[in-house]
Symmetry: C2
Amino acid sequence: MMQVKLEDVAKLAGVSPTTVSRVLNNRGYISEKTRKKVEDAIKELNYYPNDIARSLFKKRTNFIGLILPTINNPFFSELALYIENICSNYGFKVILCNSLGQLEKEKSYAEMLIRHQVDGMIVCSYNRGIEAYKNPKLPIVAIDHYLSPTIPVIGSDNYEGGRLAVQHLIDVGCKSIIHINGPFDLETPTQNRRKAYEDLVEKPITYELNNLFNEEATAATIRQIFNDYPETDGIFASDDLIAATCLKVAQELHIDVPKQLKVVGYDGTQTVSSLLPQLTTIRQPIEDIAKTAVIKLNEIIEETQNDKTMEIILPVQLVKNRTA
Amino acid sequence: MMQVKLEDVAKLAGVSPTTVSRVLNNRGYISEKTRKKVEDAIKELNYYPNDIARSLFKKRTNFIGLILPTINNPFFSELALYIENICSNYGFKVILCNSLGQLEKEKSYAEMLIRHQVDGMIVCSYNRGIEAYKNPKLPIVAIDHYLSPTIPVIGSDNYEGGRLAVQHLIDVGCKSIIHINGPFDLETPTQNRRKAYEDLVEKPITYELNNLFNEEATAATIRQIFNDYPETDGIFASDDLIAATCLKVAQELHIDVPKQLKVVGYDGTQTVSSLLPQLTTIRQPIEDIAKTAVIKLNEIIEETQNDKTMEIILPVQLVKNRTA
DNA sequence: ATGAAAGCGCTAACAG
DNA sequence: CTGTTAGCGCTTTCAT
């Protein structure tokens, strides 16, 4: 597929390639006549500049890599929507990478992005020890996970979110509150949700979900909870999908929500509020997280960073509905 | 950020750039000694090949553009997950574009993708008349929408899906079934869901949702339905999010589902089955759609297309739960 | 106001 | 088995 190139436009317009480049980039002086000729030629040939060639010269691709566990999750898909939208305002194109939480996959995505000369990356990693992130020359921001001391992390106020959730359960009368969270060994700020829980209840019991993205495993763990602690009357789930599974299991076991059991989730995405409007949850400021991440990343790329804060914490909000 | 390049590796290893290129690409004969020297130099310098330069030469970027209305929707996010996954097996990188259903946005994304020399595009368009798609040299496949006579479309059996949904409502005793669908004027195979509905019921009444991605507008339309036709005892919604809103409005109006009203949705994503497990719906074969689309696109790109079918229709399935 | 020439980092003839 | 050379499509000094 013989692409039409700048040179073809130049020939047709009877000018030099330099001139065509100038009108394309609006640089330097060009007579109106010449500009017109060039523009006509562009139109006639239906010419599109080759951004790959441009990138090679400029050493700037305007590509941003977005690494997350899976886009098929209401939190990440809402986050990704906002990120992509804001990026497009900055002229950035987003390369989507689903690591599926697998170290090897994430590693190879990170390397691929580097080879493709991305200007920067936004990473929501569930893995540790990826060498590629260590390069201090590579602009990266992390969402809700500590990657390295040099990588800023954007997230919401996880401690406060945990506190709001648990305090609410206490306020509505729960005596035996259980917490369900992801793997402990990940050094993520989301562990602060758990810390808040442990600070607030007398005898904290946290169940760990090692396979966050497998609903059946989650359901099994929850059945186990009701088996181990039949007195449970409150659950603080570290995300809304887990909370939904709690509701499902409760129904299956004929436990009435909210009468016998109260449930608070976490994230508060639009998707969940459409599909499960009764869920009481903690709403993260997803759009703000996205905006902050892109702005921060852009500052690092442009080297215009004034604020060197390494952790940005955004406020959360309790959304009361009918499950607690 | 002075990138290390192939030439630096060559110098350190004491060989020519060609030789380095050869070991990188495993092309031609290289002595073990030389290969070793080069590999050591690569490691020492922590060298990553520049894929932009490579792409410029090869006229092949391995980029695929993915245009959809919004990734923040269970159907599209599940589709995107599978597409990205399969693409990554083919060595394709996915550029994510959310058109938000806006013509101008979609147009500028399409042009951006062309300038970036994508090898192909997968498009789920909600717009008509985008010039960029007309270029017969550009490999494109469409999902569930007719873009042009030369662009193959992948989708599921929308007529059969509609038939299954409506027949089920009839089978469980509904007498006054209403259908809710997206804008009529889009020439999409999904209009076949409506056709099936109209073929099956005596006095078809279809409500049109012009703003598919605005839940409040959807709710208003549904309230209108119960106002206009209080006898309604069955709703076939053209997607699960609409069905969820029906459930919400029914609850608000104290209409008991499934006793007084039965609802069937459409899509059957994992997200919906986690968050709204009670919903009866038509399950689309999302993974198959993704796989078929990527395979077809790859065939067009590689020019190895044997099967020139312009429309591929995959089977759907009724998933009976508690709303109908 | 416009053009000629060099070069971004890589690969592929073609020699040797 | 390895190196020399040219060129992918574009932009930018530096002339004129």
